[in-house]
């Protein structure tokens, strides 16, 4: 194996809960600026793989590298904590259920981490929050609490919160799955805008059309393995694997 590493490099990722193998030897590389979609039925391991990238779900085997640094390297607990906190600052993550901090306004959700971790002054952080919330079209609601926002608005604030840390990589874990259908597009638009700005993104999604339109590459996962991967034009139109075809066929039926 050469040691030339891509921007994001996952090598032989394995994850088991007891005897249940969720990830079976998965390798994946993502170049800077690339947008990779991961599709698959629930339980296929796609979220687990995504969450392994910032060590939210630690792997039981294999390596994750980001920009030449090994994310899940073996270190004594204290050192590892320091290292992983540093790594996570560089990786933005967006969750299915938003996970906004309910006791903070949109502004505070965005300013909290940059002030605490990067030592931004209150003024600097406020400017940053205005900038980031404006970017996702949420400037008008800057002083609202999450409970006063719709799902789509919450998710846009959550994206702004992640972007405020100026991450090198953005991970989306079914960012629109919990949204009412009419609110999906406003979040997709924000993600498209990020794509245009060449943000490196890994997107776990159930939305084939969206994946097809923004991703450079799509992976189909099933039972802990990558069954097939390729550009969306190929994977969606001419899947070579029976399991991929089956999945896409079922998905199409459900959509109808």
């Amino acid at each position: 194996m050469t040691d030339e590493k891509s921007f994001v490099e996952i090598r032989h990722a394995q994850k088991a809960f007891g005897k249940l193998e969720v990830l079976k030897d998965i390798s994946l590389s993502v170049d800077k600026g690339q947008i990779v979609g991961i599709i698959g039925s629930s339980g296929s391991g796609k979220s687990t793989l995504l969450r392994a990238i910032n060590d939210l779900d630690p792997l039981t085997g294999g390596e994750v590298w980001l920009d030449g640094v090994e994310v899940n390297q073996k270190l004594p607990h204290r050192q590892y904590e320091k290292h992983i906190n540093q790594m996570r600052q560089q990786v933005g993550m967006v969750f299915q259920h938003f996970n906004l901090f309910p006791h903070m306004t949109a502004r505070e959700n965005v300013t909290m981490a940059p002030m605490l971790l990067k030592g931004l002054s209150k003024d600097e952080a406020n400017t940053l929050a205005e900038e980031q919330l404006d970017n996702v079209g949420m400037l008008e609601r800057i002083d609202y609490y999450p409970s006063q926002l719709s799902g789509g608005q919450k998710q846009r604030v959550a994206i702004a919160r992640a972007l405020a840390m100026k991450p090198k990589l953005m991970l989306f874990d079914e960012a629109t799955s919990a949204l009412d259908p009419e609110l999906v597009e406003e979040v997709n638009q924000v993600m498209r805008k990020l794509a245009e700005q060449h943000m490196t993104m890994i997107i776990v999604t159930h939305e084939m059309d969206f994946a097809a339109s923004v991703c450079d590459r799509v992976l189909f996962m099933d039972q802990g393995v990558v069954v097939e991967e390729g550009p969306p034009s190929m994977l969606f139109k001419n899947p070579t694997q029976p399991r991929t075809r089956e999945f896409l066929r079922k998905h199409l039926e459900n959509a109808k």
Partner: protein, 215 residues
């Protein structure tokens, strides 16, 4: 009912009620300290701390507070712990209340959705930063009412220290019964004063609970 007698002795009862309040406040403070330490120990990643905290909670919730006080006050000198009655009362009740509060605080912390911790950690916050900035501010709001229940129990439990002769409300009532032979009036007077203390505390808890709710 001898109202005249009650009016005559009530200033002494007020004084005793004040001691009950002081006892309650000190016990609550010590209880909160023990409870917080206990809760964090129960949630620790170190098995030994989890074990010690679990043992603390089950021992102090599994035996009568009165026995705990007797062991501390009467049994203490045998193993080199010399405390006067008031000290023994505060320490005994405080540690006892802490065992209950530990469960309340732990319950508040673990009831916060794990997505909150994940979102905080994902931004790069350390375990303690996430605890301090994200988990505790939310958990504390949930804990106000259950801790209010602990406080209610604790105030009533201060009556137990009468048994080690701390001159608080219950002991004072017993003392006046000795000289007046009017247990009905004396215990009623003590009961009313307990009720007032507990009612005011309860209103305070409700007020605090409303005040801290997230809009």
């Amino acid at each position: 009912m001898d109202i005249e007698l009650m009016l005559k002795v009530y200033p002494f009862f007020l004084e005793a009620a004040w001691l009950t309040i002081v006892l309650s406040v000190l016990t609550a403070v010590l209880g909160l300290i023990c409870g917080t330490l206990g809760a964090f120990a129960r949630l620790s990643r170190f098995a030994i701390l989890r074990f010690i905290a679990a043992a603390y909670v089950s021992v102090f919730r599994g035996t009568p507070a009165l026995i705990q006080l007797f062991i501390l006050y009467f049994g203490g000198p045998q193993i080199g712990i010399q405390l006067d009655a008031f000290e023994a009362g505060v320490i005994g009740l405080g540690i006892n209340a802490g065992a209950y509060m530990a469960e309340t605080i732990r319950g508040g912390i673990i009831s916060i959705d794990k997505g909150q911790r994940e979102a905080a950690r994902t931004l790069g916050l350390s375990h303690w930063q996430a605890m301090y900035k994200i988990i505790l501010p939310q958990a504390a709001r949930l804990m106000v009412r259950p801790l209010g229940v602990n406080l209610n129990m604790l105030i009533k439990a201060t009556a137990l220290v009468a048994a080690i002769s701390v001159v608080e409300l219950t002991y004072t009532a017993q003392r006046y019964i000795g000289s007046t032979y009017k247990p009905f009036e004396m215990f009623l007077l003590a009961g009313v004063l307990y009720m007032i203390i507990i009612y005011v505390t309860g209103r305070g808890v409700v007020w605090l609970d409303r005040k801290v709710q997230i809009t």
